[in-house]
Symmetry: D2
């Protein structure tokens, strides 16, 4: 496992713990606004995961494909822009 994979894995472990915490809040009938605050925290943590993965992707896969300038180059850029659009919730 590469170093940045380990960092992403650890973030996901923390997110798993946060999601279990949310289940407890719901079971114990916590105040709605407190649940929403905690959901927002998990969303922020997930965005951070997405940014990390996207960053690594751009710096390795995309940069390699573009530098190689092979037939894959355009395809990789299409795929990247599709991921960015999805990430930014743009149709």
């Amino acid at each position: 496992m590469r170093a940045d994979n380990r960092a992403v894995h650890n973030r996901l472990r923390r997110i798993e713990g946060q999601v279990r915490g949310l289940q407890r809040m719901v079971d114990e009938d916590a105040y709605c606004i407190d649940i929403l605050t905690q959901v927002a925290a998990v969303q922020t943590a997930l965005e951070q995961v997405a940014v990390n993965v996207l960053d690594a992707h751009v710096r390795h896969c995309v940069a390699d494909a573009v530098a190689g300038d092979g037939p894959q180059s355009d395809e990789k850029l299409d795929e990247l822009m599709a991921a960015v659009r999805r990430f930014a919730k743009v149709r």
Copy 2:
């Protein structure tokens, strides 16, 4: 536990499973774009949780406070708008 709490709890259980699936993908060095697609699926599922909780909050807590028209009414509306802003990621 109320009926809608059970639905939210079950959604969170599924999200927990999705987050564990993401950990496996990262451990097995899955393709970045596939990981991003799966992160987006978890984000959509979490938004659905937030919408459900917000919906219940508006229909019960807020509607009660406003109908009662007590001193709590304005406070509840402030709190609601703060939650909506956070949810929509508006500063």
Copy 3:
């Protein structure tokens, strides 16, 4: 025109000016990243308009309908939640 309408109108005037500024940047072939920064500024300004309008709507229309507890009450809450979902870009 009510006081808060005037404030929203003025914000929209400023946004119109910003959009014209963007047209000039594009015509003069400004650097992409600078254009994107300016687009983001307009988006933030528009969100502020949406928050102001939503806030007024919740405090007047929705609060009145809920306090009246007429048949309109549920309908107004459905409409509100649809607007919040659209605003937060949740499907």
Copy 4:
């Protein structure tokens, strides 16, 4: 002016018209939900502008810098990721 600049310019012209339409709606005290729907339409149009500009940027500026593999390459990727984060409203 390049061909894609012209397309972006035209989109911005339409957006300017939509913003003026919004001013009229506010002046005529239109129903809040209708104003919000129209604000959402402008936001979608602006996102489309941002996606177009970002797309052109990635395919030209970034691809060139990466292919050249000069000292600018990393800098361009940092700048790109900052723009993507801003676009996706990630802190």
